[in-house]
Amino acid sequence: MMVLETKQLTKHYGKIKAANEINLQIPEGCVFAILGPNGSGKSTTLGMVLGATQPTSGEFTWFGQGNDHKIRRQIGAILERPIFYPSFTATQNLKITARIKEVDNNRINEVLKLVGLYERRDSNFKTYSLGMKQRLAIASAMLCDPKVLILDEPTNGLDPQGIAEIRQLILEIAESGKTIVLASHLLDEVQKVCSDFCVLRSGRLIYQGKVEDTGETASVEVEVKSPQKELELALNELAMVTELRQEFDGGFKVVLNEDANAHALNAALFDKGITVDHLVTHRQTLEEKFLEILKNEA
């Protein structure tokens, strides 16, 4: 089942096409990332499917049912930044959300414990640190025990410890089988937690695929280093090497042809009497894939 499906979803602000004919399918049970540079239409798209922004044209369907506001009560979502009444306590804020979502007030303490804010439940929201605000937003999104959790830049502005906490929380929630949609421009974050991703650029959807597929590329790239000076000569002689580049640290970046791999390279070098002290197969990171996609589309 598709959790969310959009058809030709479009939003124009005057002449600016913030989102242009977006066709998106988010399957159930995945951790789905929406990637894109700032201003690429991530938040606009999420704003539309959550009812906050009126689409210029196009449509969307939640859980194959429709887009009625009551369906949103089964969705937990935070967009851009945690939004609460600043002079109210966590409990007072969550009571409002609970009433909107028609959830029992008993849930409030449960979700506060989940995100580790139970002890601070009677402090005003404005006294919270950014990390605590972000965690309260996740608590609020978890109130209704949602089928899908939508987080827009959940680690924005957090310190490394805060980022690690939020990442851990997302992984725990994902393990419980919930679908998570994550909009982010922090690519290594996404690589650590997501299974699927799509890329937006200038309001258009330009790629959708699985994170695990990004590591598989046609050519293999290997980093190799040796104290022996003959290394460069030997690499030049090898037929499996299609590209050779010296790095600043004296090592080499080698691109091998499709049939070869680091193991074969090592054996070939050993045959030539060269032993290496550093040999790493370089997997393409999501970041590189992302930049490649953006470059190809430009």
Partner: protein, 268 residues
């Protein structure tokens, strides 16, 4: 409906501005009749000679008259409650909580309905309090207390209710346009002055008194005409005119539609 009003109450109960403005307003509600009584007795005791025929005839608290006297004076303080509405509504947009409410599963229609119910409830509660105050002060000081005279002209409470609903809807409209609490309140207060200025221009310079009388603020102010002219032996309306009521209700409907339209249409 109960869910929507309870959401509004959850948003008000912990809010300090709500209690400050409400308490201030109720202090004024009680303070005016007490102050007037003190002033009245000072005038009769010190200014007027004992043999004056005017002594004891200023019937501020007299039944039948009291409804118009009180509601007329009270409507000058509605701006306190209108400010409360401006803050309440503008805050939802400046803090983006309206957006979060919709994301959490409220429809835009429900958001409007919640605010409208808040306006109706506040107007109703204040009207009831004013009704009770008129009754209490009347029973204390009015020379006539027979049931017939007591409830004669009680329809001024209804007119006061309409005036409150209208002013609150106007405040909501200002809040929806300005979306900032501080500037919103300032604009609301300035708007009252600007409209009076414009009305004077329209009435005297352009010679269109009817047009001046249907401007939004003027339309509810004329609902309750000043009762005090009659004590100076000049003419005034001591009843509510149907045409005034029609203009007032027309504005209420226009403002309801405008406010709902803005909320339904706008990106939050």
């Amino acid at each position: 409906m109960i869910r929507l009003i309870s959401i509004e109450l959850l948003k008000l109960k912990p809010a300090r501005y709500f209690w400050i403005l409400l308490v201030l307003f109720f202090v004024i509600l009680v303070g005016i009749p007490i102050g007037t009584y003190a002033l009245g007795s000072w005038i009769t005791n010190n200014v007027m000679p004992d043999e004056s025929p005017l002594k004891d005839i200023i019937p501020f608290y007299d039944f039948a008259d009291i409804w118009q006297n009180f509601t007329f004076l009270y409507q000058y303080f509605t701006v306190l409650l209108s400010s409360l509405i401006v803050i309440n509504v503008a805050q939802e947009f400046s803090l983006q909580t309206a957006r979060q409410n919709v994301i959490d599963g409220m429809s835009r229609g429900e958001f409007f309905k919640g605010k409208f119910l808040l306006i109706l409830s506040l107007a109703a509660v204040v009207s009831i309090v004013v009704f009770l105050l008129c009754l209490i002060f009347g029973l204390m000081y009015s020379p006539v207390t027979d049931t017939h005279s007591m409830f004669m002209n009680v329809e001024f409470i209804g007119a006061y209710f309409l005036h409150l609903v209208h002013d609150f809807l106007l405040a909501m409209f200002v809040a929806l346009l300005i979306r900032r609490t501080g500037i919103g309140v300032v604009v609301l207060i300035f708007y009252g002055w600007i409209e009076q200025f414009a009305a004077a221009l329209i009435e005297y310079a352009a010679g269109l008194p009817f047009l001046a009388s249907i401007l939004p603020n003027a339309a509810t102010k004329v609902l309750i005409h000043s009762p005090f002219n009659k004590y100076a032996l000049s003419q005034t309306f001591t009843y509510i005119r149907w045409e005034d009521m029609a203009i007032s209700i027309a504005w209420i409907i226009i403002l309801i539609l405008l406010n709902r339209w803005i909320i339904n249409r706008r990106d939050l």
